[in-house]
Amino acid sequence: MNAPGIGATRYIGQRVPRKEDPRLLTGRGQFVDDITLPGMLHVAFARSPIARGKILSIDTAAALELPGVHAIYTNTELAAIKVEMLSFYLTPPTVPITPLANGSVAYVGDPIALVIADDRYIAEDAASLIEIQYEEEDPVVTISDAKTGAPVHAGTDNNIAAIMGVEEPDEDLEAILHSAPCLVTHRVTHQRIAQSPMETRGVIVTREGAEELTLYITCQSPHMIARYVSLALGLPDTSIRVIAKDVGGSFGLKNHPWREEMSVIIAGLLFGRPLKWIEDRVENLTSANQAREQEFLVRTAFDANGRLIASHGDYSVNNGAYPQGADCNIAVHMFMWAAYKMPAYAFLTRGWYSNTVGLAAYRGPWAMESLARETALDIAARRLGLEPIELRRRNLVTLTDQPLTTPFGIPLGDITPAECLEKLLETLDVAAFRVEQAEARKQGRYLGLGVAAYIEPTGSAGSIATMTGELAQLRIEPTGKVTATMSTHSQGHGTQTTMAQIIAEKLGVAYEDVTVFEGDSSRGGFSPGAAGSRQGVIAGGATIKASELLAEKVKTLASHLFNAPVESITIENGMVHIAGAKEMTRSLRAIAEIAYGEPARLPPGFEAGLEAQYRYTPPPMTFTSAAHACIVEVDTDTGFVKIQRWISCEDCGTIINPAVVEGQIAGGLAQAIGTVLLEEMSFDARGNPTAVTYKDYLLPSISDIPDFEYLHACTPSQSVGGIRGVGEGGAIIGPPTLVNAIADALAPFGEVPVELPLTPVKLLGVIEGRSLAHKAPEPVAVAAAAPLPAAAPPAPPPSAPSSAAADGMWKMILSTPMGPQEMKGQFITNGTLLTGTLFSDVGDQEFEGSITGNSLKWDLKVKKPISLTLKYDVQIDGDNLTGKVKMGFFGNAKLTGERLP
């Protein structure tokens, strides 16, 4: 370690100006639409105006006649190149997904044809000239439609996209819930959200001969895009370079390419000229995958003192037609009570297909747990007559309770939500507020205080294929300046700044002398970029390690050159010093010139040059904790909410740049405020989106957002550098904090149903004692609406023993919390004895079990990601198998498979 000497400049923890800003402030950023390539043509899509139906005909004749139109492709033409629309986990989809509609449409905005033209104006003209005939069908729009409606996807029995947990009620748990002194039954409805990065999606594809493909694309990681495109298109022999220098925000939307981007890429390969597609905002609000739209029924039991006894959660999320990975959001349940002393929790969690645009990630995809839990706690506190803060004090896990392992097997060693809450209370005088609140109420003014606490997994690595470590490659150039090429990527995160701060401090050079390059898959190495609040933690650690290696290299060389012990050498502000020998001080440049250009002067075995790299993989999860408080006034005449004060107390460990940390918190909180008060992506009963511009989809403006106050707790984490992630927290803890404040303000009028957004109309409903302007889903007349079976598909009736039917090799897909996992299984039966082997990426495992009729049962112990016994229960039906796997506390996961020839 290059310990900074006295007088050495510290950069970590400083609000240094950002390296990104000089170009962005002067209009010299390079966003995808800023790139123009010679010979480039432009793409526009023709899209479905109906939510569900068969395509009877597509007539492109008139469109093709338009001058300036070069080609029109439908799915038929694109099918010349095979594509598999992978999830973020790089697993295949659970229902067939094609880039363009394949014979039918499944949501309004479903892309049907792609026009290639001289410019975007002509391309859009032509798209509108394409004549498409449909046979319209009744759509499945809401979660409740999905539960009873006809399956969205042909060949499926129902609309369940993903399911985990236990469907049958647990009698013991039910008994505890029903006999508890206080049972809070709490229904939370979260609207659908459009991530709304200010830069819409866009891509430029250029094929450079048979073996090279270059993409410019707005994304969260160029490396991730290169990996995805190579696998999805099966192009192992093509060299793919992905460039994304500046990206105008993403928030989960741009994790990987989806249908439109893949269509353009395939069209580019087919057409052979550079193509550009830039999504417009109406497309973005209707056809870019969206997020949230969840329903959560949580029942939570407390004893008379407000201590938690037990809880049950029933969660549903609308997956739309083509989610970026079918999802039932198991993380909601994993983190639901992780920071609380909760003795018993069970759940059922389901994702539902519908005729709406598909599900994608949005900042803190599992945030529903904090919203449901923290609002339920406040309801309980009101019922029990306790201050909500006191209720949390009685139940939060404190530092002295740790280490402990949650029922989900998550080890906790240093979470600090309770400590953050106490620190927050040093700044917030609750007693004084209660006096003020009481006085205000006498005057007919309704003030409310909301508090919430949470923990969040950040910087996770090692348990999901795409959640890897991060790479830092550093070199001291012959000029003495420092260059880094990183696996990081910024969509506003400022990683060029934060990584340079670390390098400058750890290497002993001036911040101004460090340049960080990212945003190009030809630089650095693989990482998923900005996903899961990971870059500070992991790339920070990698940068520290690489800087240490490089500093060691400089010292080794200097020690040899000056014949001085390594320990006597320090690097400060770009100069190499030898203790007690001032006259021997040299610039890094002088040392670097020797390292690169004078091999004869190097020590034996010393690799010429001054370069080092390190790929850091941190502990599997690093937790960030926080407690927030906000004070609102609700105008009882208008239903408007005015946020008067907001205090954040977060513990994100070592802070690299407080301005960047606070920027992440504030950005997340603004999105939280939008979620609670303004934003709503909804559909009418025919599946037509009702917010297609920013006049209807309301984003918070500067007048909606208060000044935030920040307190930093700074408990170093176990990862190198002690950093914790901070990218998503504001969006997770913000909603319950604000909802609690509004509910506290309006407590004299009764409980405020948590049905987001809490618009003035809804709040007036509470104030005036009317029920909320309930968006009762209009029952849609659905053809052949067969009710779903209440439980898992029933096992086929026992048939004559046919053990041999099981013998052989099977390909199986297990829907796990980490996404679908593919494996192969070999079964050998002997009477009722079953033996076999499962082959998967994590290795081969043998097992023994039993077979009765067509029903196979066996147990398997696994160690990763946590120790678990998996109980397999499988039915064989000819060449197919279905079944479930009980995964300990995670509940049940679905297994499907087919016989291999």
């Binding site: 950002r18 402030l25 639409d33 709304s196 200010m198 957002i705």
Partner: protein, 157 residues
């Protein structure tokens, strides 16, 4: 489509060319004139990212046609800093106050700030905030923008 010849000044430099009648000012500035600092966030007049200065007034270039600026003086974010590179006070304030993250909304925010503080105008914080409520920033939560506003309101420009 009919084409029209237009001549105007962009960031102090003369530009002459022919544009289609239907071409928006934002597309003209970005594609024909090469000023890609003009960002297009919504193309329907809500987000403010495309704001440029036309004859001293802030306009949403996605809602104006290129033919309408014939003979006008247009300024984009590229023309905001002094020729020697010295940042405009609004640029400097946003830089010092960490008023941007992805930087996509930034050019529009800057142009509105620049118009309101042009000459020696010392706008009040309220009037600056009112004008900026027409700009959407999805990244920053507006904290740094508001701090920059405070500085601009207090500064004698």
């Amino acid at each position: 489509m009919s084409n029209h010849d237009i001549e105007l000044t962009i960031n102090g430099r003369r530009f002459a060319g022919s544009v289609e009648a239907r071409k928006t000012l934002s597309d003209f500035l970005r594609i024909d004139a090469g000023y890609t600092g003009v960002h297009v966030g919504c193309e329907h007049g809500v987000c403010g990212a495309c704001t440029v200065i036309v004859d001293g007034r802030a306009v949403r270039s996605c809602l104006m046609l290129a033919v309408q600026v014939n003979g006008a003086e247009v300024k984009t974010v590229e023309g905001l800093a002094a020729p020697d590179g010295t940042l405009h006070p609004a640029q400097q304030a946003l830089r010092d106050e960490h008023g941007l993250q992805c930087g996509f909304c930034t050019p529009g925010v800057l142009m509105t700030m620049a118009v309101l503080t042009a000459g020696n105008a010392k706008p009040s914080e309220e009037s600056l905030l009112a004008a900026l409520s027409g700009h959407i920033c999805r990244c920053t939560g507006y904290q740094g923008i508001r701090r920059a506003v405070k500085r601009l309101a207090g500064e004698n420009l």
